[in-house]
Amino acid sequence: MTMTTADRRWRISDSIRIGLVGGIFAVYLCLIGIVEALGDRSVIEKLVSVGQTLLLLTAFGTGYFAAQQALAAGASRKTVTSLLASLLAGLGTGLLLGLLVLLGYLVNVRAVFINVSPALLDSLTLGLGISGVWLPVAVMAFVGLMGGVVRALPASVRSPLIVGLGAVVLGGLFSGLVRPPMIALKGTPEKVARFLMGPTGLTPWGAVIVFAVVAAIDITIFQASSPVRKSYRELPPNRRKIARGTLLVLAILMAIVLPRGSGPFIAQVVVLICLSALMGLGMNITLGFAGLLDLGFVAFFAVGAYTVGMLTSYGEFGLAHLPFWVVLPIAVLVAMLTGAFLGLPVLGIRGDYLAIATLGFGEVVRLLAGSDFLAPWLGGPQGVIGIQKPCLGWLGPFVGTDVPRVCHGIELGGPKEIYYLALICVLIVALVAIRLRDSRLGRAWMAIREDEDVAQGLGVNLIQTKLMAYVLGASFAGLSGAIFAVLVGSIFASSMQLLVSINVVAIVVVGGMGSIPGVIVGSLALIGLPEAFREFSAYRLLFYGAALIVVMIARPAGLWPSVITKRELHVDLDDETDPAASPSAASE
């Protein structure tokens, strides 16, 4: 304890406080039942359950942060102090958890906390009963210390360790999704799947292999000092562009191959990711580029969906029985008109007031769609059903209500087929968004976002420019809604909730305002992950909220911020357009 007196700034109480916060979090996880509920899913078969992993991660995190704080405080014997700090923090976490176990065995607390069940307590003491109370304390303290050890390691070792461990946890979570389709393929994939994954999680060997492979990838590719990075930096700019293009093509190829051989569930999830990415790209124009917060964005989605529904349905609300490909541009156009319709009245409104006004618009559209007033056309609460699936080929004639038209050709019937439609749309829309961003209009949007008055003073027509932001943003959302309609085959006003708009805003903010790859990353993280873990559905929103908070604290500019990519882009532009500038720059 001498080092604490020698050090002026780091105090024991700091680390204990972190430990207690971690402990409260761990106890909270137990009390809400998530630890037990995830007890039968494992990260590593028969070794660590997902529930236990959550607790271990908590202890690891507290140890890591306690060590980080001790290092930042500048103690005289940094390593030893930080290790002590992490041990203390882990111990604090463990003690609270131990207290819970003790309490659970001695007193019947289930009257209040129904989740403190014998099964939970057994999973914490590994079945030792009350004599095993010391176990969670010791384990959490040890894991906390490990957090400190990892923090104390040099970055080149720390990063692959953390990335590898993270991959093991994710691998365990995803194994339930990946294993069944792989086994269904028979042959080698089945053998690989059975070797790496058990029915509830990774096998121990699987965990080792996943860890080793991912850590190796991290060392060779992602680290700043890695040979791949180094040689990338040494490439001339145009070669670098080719390298980036190749990566992009690879990513697209992967996206194309992804749902092949996977179950319909995964296909459904990736379609939903694409649809939210489409909406996100639209929101990225209104919010990310032009800075206009639109909380009624779901309205455009609804308009796109209902247009497709009414014009293609073979059900009782079908108006025209047109093929999907004819209706798709109409739906986008109607959504654009709706965008202008929303944009006009709110042109002069700024900031918070704009959010409220648009919020109202979204609700109005939802209520109208579900109202008795429009029920003769939109079906009211019953919605529009019997939406004709898209057909590559020619459609047979319309024979009667409730009878789908026959498709002579390839029918895009299920999520697997519609995925490709959605993917193509995402690629096209992303390209359009990139072109818009780098255009005269895109710069005017950003100028409005930064300072509306100054932009106007420089000759930017605010009315036109803002309207274009609403209209083009709405067109992407309408496209998304149109695909959604044929994916589900029916539309209901109840699926046009405010939460959809908020999700889209969250995608843009988490991905990085104004960043196009950010939208894709944001949809993967905020729509893909929760959809993939639907089995934990009771805790989905909890995870969602926690993830949002973590991202906003750790990466306030978003997961993939726009500025860096933008600057790279301009450097490339300069190289092309101004050859005279580069030699002078080199000589300086």
């Binding site: 255009s439 005269r440 950003m446 300072d451 003073g457 420089l458 000759g459 930017v460 301009h570 532009l573």
Partner: protein, 272 residues
């Protein structure tokens, strides 16, 4: 010929009269200054010219066209551009992009042509980029085009704001305290720079300025405002000796001592 002519311009904010019955003229290719104590209505007058505020009364003619009822973007299209007292750059955009926004009104690409990437759009973008680079060089910010505007040093931000205004190819440039917060050396180069704007680019320049060294150093005409009214106008020399100006700047008491001193010096020889 007067490029800008204001006739009996009045601007009120509630009970406060910021600009009162102001008549003002500036000749083409001139450098003129507006001075006056804080709150004299100088910036409000700028805002009236550029359409940021609508004058309650009076008329403003630019090249013979009345502009007092136009929107700021329309006025900008006619060829008036400005900078701001507290720098108002687009902070999260790069220096180059700031200038490109300035060029917005001289570009014509429609959004669908931009999406299609037509040769016309590409050429226009390339030319705009070259022009922006030239303007960056002109304001001594060459090679810093990829920096975010908010990361530029203070003097660089002032010059970038001018470059952005130049991007719109104005015939009249309004500079609101271009040397505010600058040290003597920076001020000196800014004066030199303003002269270059007029001599090389043939732009008429109207500036609001507090540093008398700048005002007296470069302006051909000085207009003095106080409480929204014009109290004096003329060459720098005329203004320096104007009693009402001294009074407005230093207060009534100082005028009396200023006028009293020669008066007092008269009786002393006769008394002695």
């Amino acid at each position: 010929m007067a490029i800008l002519k204001a006739e009996k311009v009045t601007k009120q904010f509630g009970g406060l009269v910021a600009v009162h019955n102001l008549d003002f003229e500036i000749e083409e290719h001139a450098i003129a200054s507006i001075i006056g104590p804080n709150g004299a209505g100088k910036t409000t007058f700028f805002n009236c010219i550029t359409g940021f505020e609508k004058a309650n009364n009076g008329q403003i003619l630019f090249g013979g066209t009345p502009i007092q009822a136009l929107r700021p973007d329309q006025i900008s299209h006619l060829g008036i551009s400005r900078t701001y007292q507290n720098i108002r750059l687009f902070g999260e955009m790069t220096a180059l992009e700031n200038i490109l926004v300035g060029q917005h009104q001289n570009m014509h690409a429609s959004w669908y042509a931009s999406v299609a990437g037509t040769p016309g759009v590409r050429r226009e973008e390339r030319e705009a980029l070259e022009e922006a680079q030239r303007l960056l060089q002109f304001v001594d910010l060459g090679g810093q085009g990829d920096l975010l505007a908010r990361n530029l040093p203070y003097g660089g931000q002032r010059r970038l704001e001018i470059a952005r205004a130049l991007g719109s190819k104005p015939s009249l440039l309004l500079l609101d305290e271009p040397t505010a917060g600058m040290n003597p050396r920076e001020t000196e180069s800014m004066m030199h720079f303003i002269r270059r704007l007029r001599d090389e680019l043939r732009i008429t320049i109207l500036l609001i300025e507090h540093q008398m060294r700048v005002v007296m150093g470069i302006s051909e005409k000085v207009t003095v405002l106080d409480y929204g009214e014009k109290i004096a106008e003329g060459t720098t020399k005329e203004i320096q000796n104007n009693e009402r100006v001294i009074e407005a700047y230093l207060g009534r008491g100082s005028t009396r001592t200023a006028t009293a001193r020669p008066a007092a010096s008269v009786p002393s020889p006769s008394g002695g």
